[in-house]
Symmetry: C2
Subunit: 155 residues, 2 copies
């Protein structure tokens, strides 16, 4: 079994997509994040859900979360939504030097190669792509399942 | 709405649990990780699925993933499973100084406080607990959903 056989569909968003729409996508599908691609569908980075929160929560509340109590529930939510509503995904990403290295393997990578790449980069998912054609994504939990099923070690 | 109302059940594992059993739990439930508690059910840290892979994949394969091809599929899987089979969760965790700071809020934390804590620690989930009684876990995507629903901003 190779990476391309394991790859599952995963939400891809463009750098130019609206950040609030992407927040809705993450919320509705309960994803930990999305893969960001450029206009040629070339993978760029991963946008974690926590980064969307980081962008939308006012800085002084992040520094001192007790300040969050100056807002009532709707007021706090409005502040967050307004910060996202006229932004693109590209604007919500961390600066380039702070972005996650995009974990990627080619379609013919073996199960153990996928595991090694994921282990080295401490990432919960890797993108499977050949020449910028994206096959999909493999998660760490899926890979563990494949490894446990493939092994005949008594355990 | 407060953190305790948002908290969802999440797999808790003990430091003394068998690492291979925990790998199976992560695989079966397709979780990105589990919360680790001590014998008094006091939360200790988060064990990400990628750390289980990191522990189980031989070091020389992590350094050079192309070496993974010296194994066939079952052989590679057997190596990984054997490394986990007689280990406890405590042995699989990174050394203390490299562990994730356990992101935690009290049951009465507001939505915006949860978001601020998650944003500050770049974490996809936070543990909700009072005096070491764990209410559950809130994920970043769930929190985005609550924020988007609470806001009346036109968007």
């Amino acid at each position: 079994m190779r990476a391309r056989d394991l790859a599952e569909d995963y939400p891809l968003v463009k750098l130019s997509d609206n950040a609030l729409d992407v927040a809705r996508l993450i919320a509705e599908q309960r994803r930990p994040g999305v893969v960001v691609v450029d206009d040629d569908r070339k993978p760029v980075t991963v946008l974690p859900a926590s980064q969307v929160l980081r962008f939308s929560v006012p800085g002084y509340v992040q520094e001192d979360p007790s300040l969050a109590r100056v807002y009532d529930e709707q007021g706090g939510a409005d502040v967050c939504v307004r910060k996202l509503s006229d932004r693109s995904v590209g604007e919500v990403l961390p600066p380039k030097e702070k972005r996650y290295e995009l974990p990627m393997v080619t379609g013919d990578a073996t199960v153990l190669e996928c595991a090694a790449t994921m282990a080295r980069l401490h990432t919960p998912l890797i993108v499977v792509a050949d020449h910028d054609r994206i096959h999909g994504v493999v998660t760490a939990s899926h890979l563990l399942e494949v490894i446990l099923n493939a092994s005949e070690s008594p355990a």
